[in-house]
């Protein structure tokens, strides 16, 4: 069938609907590499503007780290550009296996399997290891890729209120008739920046005979004293049955993800997880770069310590200025604005001040919970943070919201 005018017109209408609703996403072009100081072309065609980046997942500042770049370059020379194969046909090199072993040691698990991305890991893992006799019980704020993965799996699904242990316990009781109960949570929640109560979750899992799944994409490399993740932070290292995480954020920022955990579950993924079986292998140079990243985080906690200091300084600065913050211990610091237009206006004004942040609103976050999500990096210097805080104070004062909480801001701007 031809791509007729009618079909074209119906797509255009839908796209215009997104624009009218303020939900249309525009890309902003970064001229150069990822880092704390970047130059951004926005809107398309505008002159580049130098800004400080507060919205990347570059938590450890390794995205453009010279040692990582050099290791990737060496990997390119020694192992080639691509493998032109999925893993199980002829796409597995010595370094793929080495990276899996290193991740196993780092995460404190029994075995690890690499995926093209963590989105793919989450899309494949549930279907590979659960069936119709099982139940998945997920926190309501888990990442979209987990929701998609759960939809692909035949097991029953259920949810519990965000971090509400009483509600989780009710659900565990309700599902005692199932073969496997799998509790599913993010380690650090990407929109709120709070940390799952993994110690309590593990205790409930023991009491009600359940397994625990954690997506530690926003934690691996920096949460916990030695950066192993949320399980280290909560004192349950070695007790998580399934961890998924990404190499696309703190751990270098290129791409790739993994499922790490009980040996038999990883083995099931190697046999049955569709994104592993039917998508090309992670490129050799990325694997080589990731091995260097793990060397850096294994031997030295300096970067995660800097990140922790930066986060405290930033939180304190914003709180003292009178912003309403979501509480949490992660380098994701959401500035609550409640109103979608206010979040967009403030992000635009901050950009004009040389601070790159993004406003989030429904449907990415609940209605009436719009915010600017700021993210810290070990690559930020004290000067970056001070400049950022000054800009926030100026723009916050302009909109008259300093010292105001949810009730007052909602009264001023509406929901």
């Amino acid at each position: 069938m031809a791509f007729s005018t009618t079909i074209r017109e119906s797509y255009r209408q839908e796209l215009n609907g997104l624009r009218a609703a303020g939900l249309y996403k525009e890309e902003r072009f970064i001229l150069g590499n990822q880092g704390a100081d970047i130059e951004v072309e926005f809107p398309a065609g505008a002159a580049g503007r130098k800004v400080i980046n507060f919205c990347a997942n570059n938590y450890l500042g390794l995205s453009s780290h010279p040692d990582v770049v050099a290791a990737a370059r060496e990997g390119l020379a020694s192992h080639g550009y691509g493998m032109s194969s999925v893993r199980f046909i002829c796409g597995t090199q010595d370094i793929h296996r080495r990276l899996e072993d290193r991740l196993t040691a780092f995460l404190g698990t029994e075995d690890t399997i690499l995926f093209p991305s963590c989105m793919d890991a989450n899309a494949g893992v549930f279907e590979a290891c659960l069936g119709a006799d099982d139940v998945m019980i997920a926190d309501r704020l888990v990442h979209a890729s987990i929701v998609d993965g759960m939809r692909l799996c035949k097991a029953m699904n259920d949810t519990y209120k965000h971090s509400d242990m009483n509600h989780l316990e009710e659900k565990l009781k309700e599902h005692q008739d199932k073969r496997i109960r799998l509790i599913i949570t993010d380690g650090v929640f990407s929109m709120d920046g709070d940390i799952a109560k993994l110690d309590e979750i593990v205790a409930l899992a023991e009491k009600y005979d359940a397994l625990v799944f954690v997506d530690d994409s926003h934690a691996s490399g920096f949460i916990g004293k030695t950066g192993r993740g949320t399980h280290e932070h909560c004192g349950v290292f070695g007790k998580i049955d399934i961890i998924t995480t990404t190499l696309g954020k703190g751990l270098g920022g290129a791409s790739g993800g993994c499922v790490s955990g009980r040996k038999e579950i990883v083995e099931m993924c190697r046999q049955k997880a569709r994104p592993y079986l039917f998508s090309n292998t992670v490129a050799p140079m990325i694997v080589a770069g990731a091995l260097k990243v793990l060397d850096l985080v294994f031997t030295n906690t300096e970067r995660r310590d800097t990140l922790e200091w930066n986060t405290k300084y930033w939180r304190q600065g914003l709180a003292e200025a009178g912003f309403d913050l979501k509480q949490g211990d992660s380098p994701i610091v959401p500035v609550m604005l409640y109103n979608a237009k206010l979040a967009q206006d403030m992000a635009r004004d901050l950009f004009a001040e040389g601070i790159y942040v993004v406003g989030f609103f429904f449907p990415v976050v609940p209605q009436g919970a719009a915010r600017i999500r700021t993210q810290l990096s070990a690559a930020h210097t004290r000067a970056h943070l001070d400049k950022g805080l000054a800009a926030f104070r100026k723009v916050g004062a302009k909109h008259g919201i300093l010292g105001k909480g949810k009730k007052e801001i909602t009264e001023m701007f509406g929901k």
Partner: protein, 83 residues
């Protein structure tokens, strides 16, 4: 009839609102399009209805539209109670 609606409303408040959430929910409040219940969490409501009223609601009928208000949910339950 109103008992049924009240039962459903009570469940929705218990199952979906946070402790400190003072959002008022009526029989006409848009639950899904209003962002109170997301389609991902809707399944527990469906299971509650099935157990409570001893009915079976096919997935095709458990649409976000049919689950959008207590009124429409109650109408759906009535439809399957008769079937």
């Amino acid at each position: 009839m109103d008992d049924q609606k009240k039962m459903i409303l009570d469940y929705v408040v218990r199952e979906y609102l946070e402790e400190d959430d003072d959002t008022e929910i009526t029989y006409d409040t848009e639950l899904i399009s209003g962002g109170i219940v997301d389609s991902f969490s809707m399944v527990s409501l469906k299971r509650f209805l099935e157990k409570k009223y001893n009915i079976s609601i096919p997935d095709a009928d458990a649409s976000p539209e049919a689950f959008d208000t207590v009124n429409s949910i109650s109408a759906l339950v009535d439809r399957f109670k008769k079937a």
